[in-house]
Symmetry: D5
Subunit: 146 residues, 10 copies
Amino acid sequence: MTKKAAGEAVLAAKQRLGIGWAQLAEAIGRPPAWTVAALLGQHPVPEAEARIVVRVLELDDDVRWALQAQPTRGALESPVPTDPTIYRFYEVLQVYGPAIKELIHEEFGDGIMSAINFRLDVRREADPAGDRVVVTLDGKFLPYQW
Amino acid sequence: MTKKAAGEAVLAAKQRLGIGWAQLAEAIGRPPAWTVAALLGQHPVPEAEARIVVRVLELDDDVRWALQAQPTRGALESPVPTDPTIYRFYEVLQVYGPAIKELIHEEFGDGIMSAINFRLDVRREADPAGDRVVVTLDGKFLPYQW
Amino acid sequence: MTKKAAGEAVLAAKQRLGIGWAQLAEAIGRPPAWTVAALLGQHPVPEAEARIVVRVLELDDDVRWALQAQPTRGALESPVPTDPTIYRFYEVLQVYGPAIKELIHEEFGDGIMSAINFRLDVRREADPAGDRVVVTLDGKFLPYQW
Amino acid sequence: MTKKAAGEAVLAAKQRLGIGWAQLAEAIGRPPAWTVAALLGQHPVPEAEARIVVRVLELDDDVRWALQAQPTRGALESPVPTDPTIYRFYEVLQVYGPAIKELIHEEFGDGIMSAINFRLDVRREADPAGDRVVVTLDGKFLPYQW
Amino acid sequence: MTKKAAGEAVLAAKQRLGIGWAQLAEAIGRPPAWTVAALLGQHPVPEAEARIVVRVLELDDDVRWALQAQPTRGALESPVPTDPTIYRFYEVLQVYGPAIKELIHEEFGDGIMSAINFRLDVRREADPAGDRVVVTLDGKFLPYQW
Amino acid sequence: MTKKAAGEAVLAAKQRLGIGWAQLAEAIGRPPAWTVAALLGQHPVPEAEARIVVRVLELDDDVRWALQAQPTRGALESPVPTDPTIYRFYEVLQVYGPAIKELIHEEFGDGIMSAINFRLDVRREADPAGDRVVVTLDGKFLPYQW
Amino acid sequence: MTKKAAGEAVLAAKQRLGIGWAQLAEAIGRPPAWTVAALLGQHPVPEAEARIVVRVLELDDDVRWALQAQPTRGALESPVPTDPTIYRFYEVLQVYGPAIKELIHEEFGDGIMSAINFRLDVRREADPAGDRVVVTLDGKFLPYQW
Amino acid sequence: MTKKAAGEAVLAAKQRLGIGWAQLAEAIGRPPAWTVAALLGQHPVPEAEARIVVRVLELDDDVRWALQAQPTRGALESPVPTDPTIYRFYEVLQVYGPAIKELIHEEFGDGIMSAINFRLDVRREADPAGDRVVVTLDGKFLPYQW
Amino acid sequence: MTKKAAGEAVLAAKQRLGIGWAQLAEAIGRPPAWTVAALLGQHPVPEAEARIVVRVLELDDDVRWALQAQPTRGALESPVPTDPTIYRFYEVLQVYGPAIKELIHEEFGDGIMSAINFRLDVRREADPAGDRVVVTLDGKFLPYQW
Amino acid sequence: MTKKAAGEAVLAAKQRLGIGWAQLAEAIGRPPAWTVAALLGQHPVPEAEARIVVRVLELDDDVRWALQAQPTRGALESPVPTDPTIYRFYEVLQVYGPAIKELIHEEFGDGIMSAINFRLDVRREADPAGDRVVVTLDGKFLPYQW
């Protein structure tokens, strides 16, 4: 079983059992964003957590083995995503990418924000003009170092 | 003069005069991220702000006209960016895109985070294990609505 | 069952039972264009409507679950569509895209027509020189707002 | 002078003289959408109209020759547009393309909406929940005919 | 059964039964080029003709339903075809496309040759220097008309 | 001077002097389609004909040298043409390519229509339902031969 | 059975039975290069030869039918091949393509080397500095001829 | 001056002075195919030969410096060449690539034909049925060796 | 069974049996990097080694046949890899490719590092500031040689 | 002046003055590989080093400003490089990429080799069977860390 098939099994079980991501995240003691990314196949799930996931979602050991396996990462179906929810983040990159780059270099010098030593968070912020989605990307700065 | 040429003129003048983005942002009373994106050609700069910019940077009116013009947005040189600083954000999308999508849908239902009614912020967070780059994307939730 | 497979099941059942889109749209009390897009997998169908659809089309619950699931949107088989009926709309974008952009900016200022808070309609307009297809795209204006 | 350069000259002159598209359209007695598309290089402008345009915009005959020339059409800078205002229409095609196709075939049979015998209109519709952009595509139906 | 699978079933049955395209075209009273294109999945086949085809080729009703279905057209496996017989027509477009465009515009004005109100014919022309393939493309002229 | 620049010089001179392709073709004693293709840079023009062309169009010897040079052929700006007049021929290939291939193989056996030993013709055919564009592609059959 | 599947069946049978291409070529009385290309699906194999092939390789009639079928040619998995053995020939084209073109035009005038009336040969040439692969491409010259 | 510009200068001088590739090759004592490839910018030309070339072609030292420079190789304008003369070699790769690969592996084992320790030759072979272009690719076999 | 499927069988068996690459490499007496590449389908595995592998991993003879077969090489799922671990090497090529080229040419003259007569090694180097991955690419220099 | 133009100025000056990379590297007290990458525009050069470079190479201050500027990195002209010297490294990635990934994960766990905290070295290793190019990539291991 591939990690992609495992991810689809997780989604189907969640829908069937009416279990939310927050519940799953709590069950394995991990932040929600990590939990979702990992169960959709982008991180290897440690054995202990994988056992909990398959028990909660009533899945079998094939799913567990797949969840534990080391992924070949990359979740977009094409270089430019077509799903509107995901595309908006690509658009942010098209419009603000160089600005982000300038601000990182001005503040930190030459280097990058790590996408490995990295965490992210998605939360709702109430706003009378319409609630807002706030996504925080938080990665260690890595200076170019020879 | 194209907006791209105007952006390059801004960068060259900044380097020559030793002026930082924070200074420019303050001079026009706008947040730094908006300022950088706008001066690099991704937003039209209102006339008043454009006048300040060209005065501070000792640039001429051709640059000002270009800054004021309505942009055709899109700053990446190719569908997949090659610059490592920018690529890491694309990688975040490759690894975490579907997770962000799941979390938005779980919290808000079917819809998207607007990239138009949107602001972002880049800041440094001190960390003994190495300072961190924290990028906050903050957009209004737009539900699919017929 | 994927949403794509569910859409194909819907098409096959429609052809077999001789049921039209208008009938389906009426059965679930939704506009035709939304109905078609949703049943072809581009919108999640609420449970109540999904139950009606599978009953009318004599399909089983697997189809219903798939119709209810949150889609990853994007219906074109390649960046440039090859089907002539769909391609003509792409051609309209090639020829009139910048003109539409200019007119939106002149009338509304900097911003976009939402494709989320959006509805569309396809209707026939009788014309002695040959009937016409009239497609109305109707989306909320979203101004760039920081 | 290429038609693209002529289009840029038109844009610059409009900005400099503070003349709007509506004024230009009225001056040449054509609908606004046609006027913008034609002056941006997607339609040949008849000599009479071209003479008016260059007079109103204080441009020279090189621009006029270019406006009159037969275009090689196609205005998008890449198969998938990056400008958010234009991208939204591409997204509409991604999400609603097959639905539009189904509705055309159900209503008219096998065939297409012409993009040649075609007109479009962009207008503002006041709405208390936020004004709306309404784009009407109106093309003759062409049945597949051997 | 997809239209593509139906087309392959037709090809296999033709080979097995030793039936030619000319025979099939005559059986359904249609021109050969239309017949081939339709049976390979590029046109919907009316029910009467579809019944004849499956009877002559000893195929079952699944094939018939697929032949009758409305196609999503587009037969090339990639934007640039690799099969040499088909590629030569793409090469003709590469070498003569703009010349054809010029000649159409000189003779007819601004507009296109319809590919919908269209027929084509492939025939052999005896020639002592080697017989020739003559392909005639015959489409209605459609003037750009607002 | 490149062959492309020479082609643009030819187009500009034609427009300025009001000379048509038919006239140019007659002046050099060649069929119109060949003449247009050659002057747009897809065939080397023999010296005698090139001299006539530059004299008739009042162009200089730089243009003549370029017209005489051996071309690197290929006139489409991208793998899929965007100009509607040219795109329709690509669409014909998308819809009828495999049908043409089948008919060539049934009539001639395994092989191709040459695009080198090849001529084409574009003509108007009067038709009460609207005049038609008739394009005839006429190439020698080349059998696969080891 | 597709021609690709037939080719894979041939490769598997060859490996299992320890039969070489030379043997197969001799058995059907054809040059080795033609034999390999044909059995891998790039040429239709005449019935007599196909019967020999399936007898020698102990394959069944499904394979034979597939071998006899007219191919849609094109064996590279992507426009640029990734297999190093095949890539080297693409590299030769990248480095020497224009030189080959110049030499053909200088020697023969405007035209091409046919890839249809064509044969090729691959042989080993002993060399004390390391044996050499010698590939001979031998095609009829086809002059551009209207 | 780039190597590409130098190659164009060489082509223009050859045409102006009526000097052939054979003559140039003889003047510098190199095989014709190497000479053409090198002067078109795909090999660095040693200083002695470069001096001869610019003297014979009456070019200046800028051209000579460019000819001597180390190239970044790659002469095709796009991954798939459009020029028919060059395309035929790409087509050969599409049709015969895997066959060549099989024959190399059967004769030599696992490895490649070098495109570096490599020479090629283009010659005319008289043939009553039409003269033939014979291109010989001759490269050292390199076995995979750890 | 394809080589890809065989590679997946190897990975699954390794995970199930808790056997490491080092163990497998030792069992067949080959360097680890070669072993992994070969078992993942990029090199043909000699029969003796293949027999050991399937015995150690408790796999059957289908896997063995696939491991022994000659590969069509190329392991990246798209021209630009998306997996971060692999992408970093592509990024190295983006940033340092021309520098490596310059240094090879300065030291060795015109030529390449062979990727065929080639070995590589991946090892850990302890470092107080964080251990390092050291990858050594070691290929024979091949001078351009006619 | 762009960083690319500065890099070309550096290359031209080096060739004109007969100065090698080793000399330049020594003059600025940096490793050769860093020096080349930086002067070709992939790293910002600190002011002190930039001053030395332009003095040694007799270049002016425009070059110096460009060398000091922050680069937008990415040196390949297309996603797949065509230059044979650079392509070989891409080929290594195609053939050995997944093997390197496996070995890194087995040795270090889930994570990557940094391309930022990274150095590389290119050296010649004498070998009686032909000298070898040895490229060492040496980057800090970065574990996935939330």
